[in-house]
């Protein structure tokens, strides 16, 4: 019985180095779409305007646009070691990524603002929609980070 687990060497039979991009993609997909389903759930449960102001959805939309912007440029383009120059080159990639991250952080901050300014401070009886908005943006934000930095571009060569 003591030698039972010694024959299972998981780190050797599966090469995690080659699977890294796949695992990061799956993790990012789970985070991103779980975030959206949380807000769908809140919108289904609380369709009334006074419970859940519909303009709060803009926060998640901005986070999604930021997600797309962050992941549209590769790390190689920002460092400048890609083969092809785009229409704006390295500077354009850096500005694009800067704006993308700014929108990502902005939506995360705005979701916290909605949670506290819209629900906690007003002492509404229902806080769940605010928490849902916050969790949606946090999940999308971390999904973007995992999709951007969890993958390595060495495997593309």
């Amino acid at each position: 019985m003591s030698g039972f687990l010694e024959t299972m060497r998981c780190s050797e039979c599966v090469d995690w180095g080659e699977k890294r991009n796949t695992i990061a993609s799956v993790a990012a997909g789970v985070l991103f779409f779980t975030g959206w389903w949380i807000i769908i759930d809140a919108a289904v449960k609380y369709p009334q305007m006074e419970d859940f102001n519909h303009s709060y959805h803009a926060c998640g939309v901005i986070a999604t646009i930021a997600f797309l912007m962050i992941n549209a440029v590769s790390n190689g383009q920002v460092r400048g070691d890609s083969y092809s120059e785009g229409c704006l080159g390295q500077t354009g990639a850096r500005i694009w990524l800067f704006i993308g991250f700014m929108m990502a952080f902005g939506s995360l901050i705005a979701s916290m603002w909605i949670l506290f300014g819209g629900y906690v401070v007003k002492e509404k009886p229902l806080v769940y929609p605010g928490i849902a908005v916050f969790f949606q943006n946090a999940f999308i934000f971390f999904g973007g980070l995992v999709f951007k930095f969890g993958r390595t571009e060495d495997l593309w060569q």
Partner: protein, 132 residues
């Protein structure tokens, strides 16, 4: 013959999964609500991104690819949606939680079957699955 055996066992898995889904819909103690059938769209959509990416990317020496990783991301999204939809139905009191659990079990079996399809027929060339 290995292909035939795998095909039969996979189709058995698919039938079991669909049985769980239909049980979640049709049992009279769950009020015979057929809303969970909408996850069938997710079953059909789930292999599509990876098939597109595999045809688009030429199989060279690279172990991975940005296009393939995007396809995996989208596939994960479809799978998560298939699990999220019945949970939202149950939370909206459209279906009961027992029906939701049956649908989730069916989801797990069906997606394991689809994954098994890709693992069995995606790698070996003699079945000529890749020529599609």
């Amino acid at each position: 013959m290995a292909g035939i055996k795998a095909l039969i066992s996979l189709s058995f898995g698919g039938a079991i999964g669909l049985m769980f889904l239909m049980l979640g819909c049709a049992l009279p103690q769950y009020n015979s609500q057929y809303w969970p059938l909408f996850v069938l769209f997710f079953y059909i959509l789930s292999p599509i991104p990876y098939c597109i990416a595999r045809r688009l990317v030429d199989e060279t020496d690279a172990t991975s690819n940005a296009c393939k990783e995007l396809a995996i991301f989208l596939t994960t999204g479809i799978v998560v949606s298939a699990f999220g939809l019945p949970i939202v139905f149950a939370r909206a009191q459209l279906i009961l939680w027992g029906a939701c659990a049956l649908v989730l079990t069916g989801n797990t079996v069906i997606f394991a079957t689809i994954l098994g399809f890709f693992l069995v027929f995606g790698s070996n060339d003699d079945f000529s699955w890749q020529q599609w």
